[in-house]
Symmetry: D2
Subunit: 361 residues, 4 copies
């Protein structure tokens, strides 16, 4: 349902940008997994604003573990983690009570629910992604124990500036880059572009690419819960996501079968393929090759220019939103993309284990 | 779960390409909807092979209604429809028992399940999409009664040949076109290209674009069941789908906020927007503008050239698959894309009606 | 949802008493299970009317397997089975079009859905339980391969006549008894009572008791999917079920803890208990002892006496329903109780296997 | 799933007896419902221990609202409430680390999960029911706004002492009774019996009966989500519940149809029935009469006598658990039974509204 993600490995989240706290409840994580609070802190830090090129909201995002772990190990009971909102400054947003910002969720939330927590976007705020990162961290702990799955994600395109592929990047080096791009040349140009945007009070779209290695063949539940379908749902549920593709993706539209087919080659552990246009998935089931996908994010709607806003009374007014805003979503989206992918994999790994009787490695 | 799609409006499907029958069970369709068997037949005919530029498999695809309708009207009980397989010719496929075709689901199904119905792809066959069309037809009947929602979908790109946009096309005219493209010039070139591919024993990828008009503002269930996330899951679950985007889609990656934001303009029925880069959805909720999306499909893997196949024993062999095959998925995908979108909308319309107390129009 | 039962092992059913067919789709049964069509026929025969002391409706209930099995083995794809209705005689029921029979679902279906298939009760007919038996048979095949679980169920009380306990009965001998009671003395008295009821045009309530042996410790998913909670939901969803209890059941209300507690005793394979008042379940999880429960069924509402019926126009009229009717539900409920229990166990066994990594035996 | 209850109105809970906090997340409550924190406090107080005849654990159970409410009104976002554990005294329980108490969940949790939070029963503690009461309070707020539904529940049987029926009691007067029984004579005898049990270090089983008035006809989703089936699942998921029945319940087993059928009588608002043996439900759908059900609870397993415990090493030892314990579950179960019933009704009311288009009153 609306605020729950997954079938067996399930994340339920709650919280608004300027409410008391954000929270995540992870149900279905097997017992006996070592709970690595430092890993969780690291993942939360990786999406935290207050860094060089993102919004300077300064919060520690300290996770508080409420349940599900005893003597350092998961017990099979639901794992609840909350993060208090400490830097709320609600007064910043009072001007927006009756205004609908262009390309924001203000108008649609107001229309759907009748009432709206307008402070900082309420439930529609990007701050909500914090709870996804908590779920992703637990998925990471589970997968690290049970599989060889590793993921790397990075910004590979920003405002037309393209980097080398994520295949050529290092998972941790990405997070040492202020623009989440392990490609010095592209990183330099992206950073310069973001500074230019900030100065202009504008913003930019971009693409996050991801590669998951070590995915055992056999994950995915046809017909409607194909691995690619679930990844698509997970990624497209992230704020600002406008597109998703796997493997050769939209590029396949112009290709012939003879150039797109991934032909088999002999491999030590069963057949492999000479190319990976399928992105590691066929018929909705992983084939043992790396899972490759991309997510396109729009430029943040909050810009420092005067724009035509809708109002609660049905009028349209010219307005300029005060405050500093993120010039790009993609930088903070990188760990969120990782988190959603890891939860999809953890869920499918459990689903497959149920039907097969032993976890695949 | 795997073979069920939707939360309140739910489709459960079964059947293999060369089994006794394909079937669809629709649960959650409200009572009192007139069941239009001719509409169902029309929709099934629109995806039927045996037409000019698709596989010449000649089956009537006659639907048999087993339950859920009494005196022409739905009763609230599950609606079950089956379609018998009459033209099975299983012997065509015996050579494939121990072979894994490149970029097919043969290898992944065998790996996941241990056993495999290899005849014509079994459950992974595109014939499975027939059951989706049944579900979509019922959704269409429901939405026609309750809303003004209409959909049009078309092939807008095939092997690099691009047509005018789906906005400029007519929903029915699309199906009078053998390539499902209501653009005479593009249609002619696409048809010629498909003939060329057929002669060469090759295939092509393409893009299906869709536009849904009349979607009332307010449909979509944040956070994880956003309208775009559910559409993504539905579309990416179709055989051969490699990418999905909404509104300006992947194009946003190179845009600035100042050019991408959809600014409000005064409109008769509340604010509208001057552009529709959001594709009719903000924060996962429809905003009253047309919902726009695209789905990229790969070139069919079955081509008439010798290719390197995997084998059940782990070897790799050069093999050429006999028989005539579809040079493109997209033509038959058009009504399937419509069906999945209509089911997503019917489901979200019901979900919204539950939370709001009256159906939106 | 309404017509689907289970989480991983899922039964979706459809069909009305006098429609074209009843059907069952089982999704989530692992691949590689030998499909025993004779076992399915046997289970269907065990609930079939047309036997000595039940309704003389004469149908073969021949199952037709539509999907999910290839070369005698499940493939992991959904298993669909339909049974045609051949002895419909709809005209028998035309008098009931605008009448609501006392204690039937006529009134509530009409009120809920607005329309109603009045022929033989439509979807609310006991004939619906046929589809449950199909699902139970597949669960039985799965559990037989993977576990030592066996179930026995029997009529242990009918119109005040009580038999010995189900513990003292033989699973197959029960079905050789026309009243489904493996206790010659009670059987004789129950049969006589049923003849008396038939002559009087009346009916009787009763109790079905069940005992499941070989349930491995560890099945059940606290908090809300406890094994007892799921069994309760399954049993109370059967037509005419009015009560459910486990172990010492309602009898515990008058007991003290000191007499009710199941104390541990040393056993070969870990601790066992000296009594089984818990009915094999503690904290919602099986403890390795036999699972014991009872289901109380009301007397069939269809009796040959004139009764006060409601009408569609809001009136109340005296009416006598023609035709011969079952003097008791419990006889035919026995295999249905088995089926529901087996599906609950199959589902929980898979859920536990997902979380644990190996199936319990 | 395991820790989530409901389909549209969904409760997800977490927390252990001696962890940091208990918590509840309610998803699917429509926007615009006034959030009555005092009602929530009242309901929590009604199940709080530390009262005359229950465990003297002294906690305020102060709810902290974390999300989903803005300016006093629900927003459609998930409502999260936590209650801190302040009186944990974990050292009381250290002796139980490797002991399995008779008829407790100690043994089954240890067997299922491998690890166990043994402090005070961990997740299997009755303290978990606190989170249910939170969910029930929100359901109560919703139902109060939209319907005329009211519920009364009470202890009607305790250790063989039976009170008048719940029909004859007042909902609030029940909570002024220390034994939750609005029948002065029975109350006096029950209280005396509980004192006797406390002195003897023993405990007693009992029955909670409930009656729900104002349930509109039409709630319930056949076949598997019948109103009675969902009530059964909800009630049997409460700690210590051993049996559930509706209407005439287990008593029907000895009845004839001619005495059990609820015959129609003319009524102002459509037909009513002269008796209510069906307990307000037919075919799984409410019929407009009061919904009546009972839940049997076992005597608490924790008694002050030496009993034979299992151990982690497979042995059996004589042991006496220290501390004061509840002589009965039923007293504290009353508000929990109410909470589960209210959530089932809220969920079914929303499900029905989805399929019907307007909420029933």
């Amino acid at each position: 349902m609306a605020n729950t993600f997954g079938t067996l490995f399930r994340l339920t989240t709650f919280g608004e940008s300027h409410g008391a706290a954000l929270g995540a409840v992870i149900d279905g994580c097997p017992a006996g997994v070592e709970f690595d609070i430092d890993l969780l802190r690291r993942d939360l830090a990786r999406r935290r604003p207050g860094q060089a090129l993102t919004t300077p909201r300064n919060e520690a995002d300290e996770p508080e573990l409420l349940s599900g772990v005893f003597e350092g190990v998961t017990t099979g009971a639901p794992i609840a983690v909350i993060v208090r909102n400490t830097d709320q400054r609600s007064k910043d947003y009072s001007a927006l009570r009756d205004l609908f910002r262009p390309s924001h969720a203000d108008f649609t939330y107001a229309g759907k629910y009748g009432v709206r927590d307008h402070r900082g976007g309420g439930r529609s705020s990007a701050r909500e992604t914090l709870a996804r990162v908590i779920g992703g961290a637990v998925a990471r702990m589970l997968l690290a124990r049970e599989t060889s799955i590793t993921i790397r994600a990075a910004v590979t395109s920003l405002g037309g500036i393209r980097s080398r592929t994520v295949d050529e990047m290092d998972a941790d080096a990405v997070y040492r880059s202020p623009v989440r791009c392990d490609d010095p040349d592209a990183e330099r140009r992206m950073a310069a572009y973001l500074e230019e945007l900030r100065a202009a009070g504008d913003s930019s779209g971009g693409i996050v690419s991801a590669r998951i290695d070590g995915v055992p063949a056999g994950l995915g539940e046809p017909i409607y819960d194909k691995l690619n379908a679930r990844l698509a749902a997970g990624m497209m549920s992230i704020n600002g996501a406008m597109g998703f593709d796997v493997g050769a993706g939209f590029g396949v539209a112009e290709r012939r079968g003879s150039e797109n087919n991934d032909q088999f080659i002999p491999a030590a552990a069963g057949p492999g393929t000479s190319s990976n246009n399928s992105g590691g998935i066929q018929g909705g089931i992983s084939n043992g090759m790396p899972v490759i996908f991309r997510v396109a994010f729009k430029p943040p709607s909050s810009i420092a220019t005067a724009q035509r806003h809708g109002t609660a009374s049905g009028d349209v007014v010219e307005h300029r939103v005060e405050g500093r805003h993120d010039p790009s979503i993609v930088i903070r989206a990188v760990p969120v993309v990782e988190a959603m992918a890891l939860m999809v994999l953890a869920d499918h790994w459990l689903l497959d284990r149920a039907s097969r009787g032993a976890g695949r490695r």
